[in-house]
């Protein structure tokens, strides 16, 4: 490994605030669709047929894929489901809440 690789690998980011325990919700005067859409407003857990997962320090898409699907190579499935918040699959941040599609 060259010195540049080492430098790249050791690149430190500004410490990020921890928002992993943020709780959220919503309500409306408007009606809801007859077939309710998945409620993504929960902090974690199963919402309809979709789970959510809050990224913690040290996570990668591969690790999360391994945890939920038992196969790290299925990380593109997570990337695809979360394209609205992941532009670079090598860069996810603690506190990000990811949709976990069913295996």
């Amino acid at each position: 490994m060259g010195i540049f690789d080492k430098l790249k690998g050791n690149k430190t980011e500004k410490p990020r605030a921890d928002f992993s325990n943020v709780q959220s919700g919503s309500s409306s005067t408007a009606g809801e669709p007859a077939i309710p859409a998945p409620d993504l407003s929960r902090t974690t857990g199963t919402t309809g047929q979709e789970q959510t997962y809050t990224v913690v320090a040290g996570d990668s898409l591969s690790k999360i894929a391994k945890r939920f699907y038992g196969d790290a190579s299925l990380w593109p499935r997570l990337h695809e489901a979360n394209r609205d918040q992941i532009t670079n699959p090598d860069l996810i941040h603690p506190g990000q809440r990811l949709k976990i599609p069913q295996a």
Binding site: F19, S28, S41
Partner: protein
């Protein structure tokens, strides 16, 4: 002879006129997607909302232990519209992102709220509201330590 030919011509003209009219009516309808009728008219921030989901005490400065509410007013009707609230901190770190699908009927209000049991870090935050995946409004706010 004259009468028969002119009758046919008139009939053809009437049929053609009918077809043109029908085609125009059809294309006008097809060119009006239902979602264009819905728009966000107001986004407010505060520490609480009333039964009508409107903010009761608007502010853009919060304390670390506050629950932060956003109230999104919409106008218009549609069979479905999706509102999304994306809350970010300082340089864009995502705090929370919540989505709610509604069936708006004229004037509606939808509230989103976030809380943090062990207090918000002080600093500048931003709320971005999306309607059907289109960013429609942003609001800056601040959390100041007590």
């Amino acid at each position: 002879m004259m009468t028969r030919q002119s009758g046919r011509t008139q009939l053809s003209a009437i049929v053609a006129l009918f077809l043109v009219t029908a085609a125009c009516g059809g294309s006008r309808e097809a060119g009006a997607p239902a979602t264009t009728a819905v728009r966000v008219t107001d986004v407010g921030l505060g520490r609480s909302v009333g039964g009508d989901k409107a903010i009761t005490d608007r502010t853009d400065t919060f304390r670390p232990n506050d629950t932060i509410y956003a109230s999104v007013a919409t106008e218009g009707s549609a069979s479905s519209a999706t509102l999304r609230a994306r809350w970010t901190f300082e340089d864009g770190q995502v705090v929370d992102e919540s989505t709610r699908t509604i069936v708006p009927n004229n004037r509606e209000r939808t509230e989103f709220h976030i809380s943090k049991p062990n207090a918000w870090p002080s600093g500048k935050y931003k709320l971005e509201v999306f309607l059907d995946n289109q960013s429609v409004e942003t609001k800056d706010f601040e959390v100041r330590g007590s």
